[in-house]
């Protein structure tokens, strides 16, 4: 009897899982990716609600009727609240899969998919997942979004199965999976080099001669089946990507590329023409086709030509701006400030063209690339004496190319306008006064004094030993100090007793200057690392809160006695 009940329950599970279509209705990109990975492992058609522009009615029209649909829908942030009912109204059977945590859903669908092959990528950004999506689809592998926090759960799922690690992942992920002898694709040093590696692997193994080119910031419905590898680029084609495309065209292995939307038409057209010209110079008549998928329409629904169905994804994109361009008549130099306004560090190369009456007067360019940290401002100076230019309109054109790695400059920014004349001498003078570890705040606090009578700008780095290894930590960004004032720079750090013992003295490095971004003076200061008293081990907030409560009680008691009416005798 028990066995019969077991079989009945099992059959219910099988029936419940017998979907023939996967639909995704979630603002969480992890739900969207996981649903696609799941569908591709199972060999099912899949469609996601686009955003912006998600419309349940159009989605249902595209999906059609008489399907058994697994609807993966965010419990908190679905794109439409009408989708399930609309799908059911078209004679579809809908199994609702509510997702309240995109990370957990990725793990759960991995198990439900029954996959025997897995690709592990980093969970922080979408580039890795989009890069491996086609290979995963071709090999019926499920893609795990992993990090150091969930690697134990990931490992439990992929244990004993075929595993690939792609690109940059947490070291804990790499260490944890090492015992499973995973295949590794990409080193994690450069996302474009990693991407080229998986695209080439996909093309070679499955005889594919066309690719989609995208910037990794979105999914489009045409990408989800994984028919074509996705080659990543930026508004500039990174060198590893360019070299790969050129070689594949030369070898006759790549005949055409597909763009989704118009954003990359200019760089890819330029790349194609450059490759064509370079190969023609070698006497070769080879090129590649460019197809731009630019719209969609449903004639019977009277929609007109609409934008494509897309879902935006969190790819890492460096962002640099040109903050200031000027001519310092004191130092006889042109000064350019580059600001890192993105989420992480970046590398850049710069070109400055000084023009008189629109004609090039002097052109400066950088040798190699410079690194700029998040929040940092770099001032670049080039010597030029413009005092001899008596007449004419002096302008400057500044162009920076930048990217996330030294070899891949995938973006650019430029600024052109009249060259402003400024005059100043850098008399800044700062010094480090103290360094203190606050165990309550788990921070090292560095106190810096401006000794001069003009404002100073500083960028701070801290050198110390952590877990036995010499470590340099970058401060929060460039900060200003008023004349004669103190500034406390905070480095959030958790130091163990062993770390504290190893850091009786630390080194503070300062880049500073009198003008924002132009931190051309440098100093390093060995200081004793003091340890703040921790108020008997209680966090300051708790102590302060208790003190406030005591005061309030006293006030209340006093109020009681003061406001109490005299009792009649």
């Amino acid at each position: 009897m028990r066995f019969a009940i077991f079989l009945f329950m099992l059959s219910l599970v099988v029936v419940a899982s017998a979907e023939d279509y996967v639909a995704i209705n979630s603002m969480d990109g992890r739900d969207v990716l996981s649903g696609i990975f799941y569908a591709n492992v199972k060999g099912l058609p899949v469609r996601f609600m686009p955003v912006p522009g998600g419309d349940a009615e159009l989605f249902t029209l595209k999906t059609g009727g008489n399907h058994s649909i697994l609807l993966i829908q965010s419990a908190d942030v679905p794109i439409s609240g009408f989708l399930q009912a609309d799908l059911q109204s078209k004679n579809n059977t809908v199994e609702l899969y509510p997702s309240s945590d995109g990370g957990a859903t990725n793990l759960d669908l991995a198990q439900r998919s029954g996959a025997t092959s897995f690709i592990v990528v980093d969970s922080a950004y979408s580039d890795g997942a989009i890069s491996v999506l086609p290979y995963a689809a071709q090999t019926k592998s499920y893609v795990m979004l992993a990090n150091k926090n969930n690697i134990a759960q990931v490992k439990a799922i992929v244990q004993g199965k075929k595993v690939m690690i792609y690109g940059l992942v947490d070291q804990e992920v790499r260490d944890s999976l090492a015992s499973l002898n995973p295949e590794t694709v990409g080193t994690g040093d450069d996302k474009y080099e990693d991407n080229v590696a998986i695209v080439k692997k996909t093309m070679d193994e499955f005889g594919i001669n066309r690719v989609i080119i995208a910037d990794g910031t979105f999914l489009e419905q045409g990408m989800v089946k994984g028919d074509l590898p996705v080659l990543l680029t930026g508004k500039l084609v990174p060198q590893p990507t360019y070299d790969f495309v050129k070689q594949e065209v030369l070898d006759g292995k790549l005949t055409g590329v597909m763009l989704l939307g118009n954003d990359l038409v200019v760089p890819i057209y330029d790349m194609r023409e450059r490759i064509k010209a370079e190969l023609a110079a070698q006497g070769l008549n080879k090129t590649l086709g460019i197809t731009v998928k630019f719209g969609q329409a449903m004639p019977s629904a009277g929609t007109g030509v609409m934008g494509l169905d897309m879902f935006q994804m969190p790819a890492y994109q460096p962002k640099l701006d040109i903050g200031e361009v000027g001519y310092n008549s004191q130092s006889k130099s042109v000064m350019v400030r580059v600001d890192n306004t993105g989420d992480g560090s970046a590398y850049y190369s710069i070109e400055v063209r000084i023009k008189v009456d629109g004609n090039d007067y002097k052109v400066f360019s950088a040798n190699g690339t410079n690194r700029i940290d998040r929040g940092e401002q770099n001032g670049v100076q080039y010597p030029i004496d413009l005092s001899g230019v008596k007449e004419g309109n002096v302008t400057a054109l500044v162009l920076i190319k930048y990217g996330s790695s030294r070899s891949s400059l995938e973006s650019f920014s430029s600024k052109e306008g009249p060259l402003t004349s400024i005059s100043y001498t850098d008399n800044s003078d700062v010094a480090v006064q103290a360094a203190r570890y606050d165990s309550t705040k788990q921070s090292v606090l560095v106190t810096i004094k401006n000794n001069a009578n003009q404002p100073a700008y500083i960028f701070t780095r801290l050198g110390l030993t952590m877990s036995g290894a010499a470590t340099n930590i970058t401060g929060p960004g460039a900060e200003s100090i008023d004349p004669g004032s103190l500034l406390v720079v905070e480095f959030p750090l958790q130091l163990s007793q062993a770390d504290l013992a190893a850091n009786k003295n630390v080194m503070v490095y300062l880049d500073y200057g009198a003008r924002q971004g132009f931190l051309n003076k440098h100093g390093q200061y060995p200081v004793t690392l003091e340890e703040a008293a921790a108020a008997g081990g209680f966090p300051i907030l708790i102590v302060a809160g208790l003190a406030v409560l005591v005061i309030l009680v006293i006030v209340a008691v006093a109020a009681f006695f003061l406001m109490r009416k005299p009792q009649k005798k």
Binding site: G103, D215, V266, L288, A297, P299, V305, F311, V553
Partner: protein
């Protein structure tokens, strides 16, 4: 009794402020925010510089719809200063190309001539006067060119009625389903091309629609010379 309310109020306020000072925002808030669709990258889902307008409510007959529009001759990034210094070549409509509409991921590398009869079968257009065989009757060659794949001749071409300057050709890849067909024309410059209403246009294309089926989705593709 007022003093009791006062005491209680002061204590409640103090306790509340104490509790709030210890409240913290932890967990996966940051990561989840990053993964939310609206907070992602910089893609635009509009047609952008390549624009299209539906023709007269989209339906010509119950078997044919049409699209016309402009493929901008000025497809540029917003930073024109940088663009001029970063890129050597820029496409414009005088560079030429073709525009196609297809229902799926058409295999462009396998593009070849189609026939009206094949279109009729795939789209179930039936034996009527305005089916594909009765529409694609122009015997002249289309001369479509997809860079590495030339479709120089076809037996499925229709020249649009004047004042339109366009024609549509049907092509197919190796399959026989609806998504294996594409309907194409060569681009015209916006000064030379005229649509059905004698307005400037870079393309105008006719596409078949299966009668009684309200769920067809066409995708628009531009091939850049």
């Amino acid at each position: 009794m007022k003093w009791m309310y006062l005491v209680f109020g002061v204590l409640l306020l103090g306790g509340l402020s104490f509790a709030m000072s210890n409240a913290s925002i932890l967990g996966s808030v940051v990561e989840r925010g990053r993964w939310l669709g609206m907070t992602g990258g910089n893609v635009t889902t509009e047609g952008g510089n390549i624009t299209g307008v539906n023709l007269n409510g989209s339906t010509l007959t119950d078997r044919w719809a049409a699209f016309y529009g402009n493929v901008s001759g000025n497809i540029r990034l917003t930073d024109s200063v940088g663009t001029n210094n970063v890129y050597t070549w820029a496409w414009n409509d005088s560079s030429g190309g073709s525009v196609c509409f297809s229902e799926g991921n058409f295999a462009w590398a396998s593009a070849a001539t189609a026939t009206g009869a094949q279109v009729d079968t795939a789209f179930a257009l039936g034996t009527v006067a305005d089916n594909a065989a009765g529409t694609f009757t122009d015997a002249a060659a289309c001369g479509l060119n997809f860079t590495n794949v030339a479709v120089v001749d076809t037996s499925a071409k229709v020249t649009h009625t004047s004042p339109s300057t366009f024609w549509t050709c049907a092509i197919k890849d190796t399959g026989a389903a609806k998504a294996d067909f594409a309907f194409c024309t060569n681009m015209s410059t916006s000064t030379a091309g005229k649509n059905w209403n004698n307005e400037a246009a870079n393309y105008e294309i006719m596409v078949p629609t299966t009668p009684g089926l309200g769920t067809e989705t066409y995708y628009a593709f531009a091939q850049l010379n």
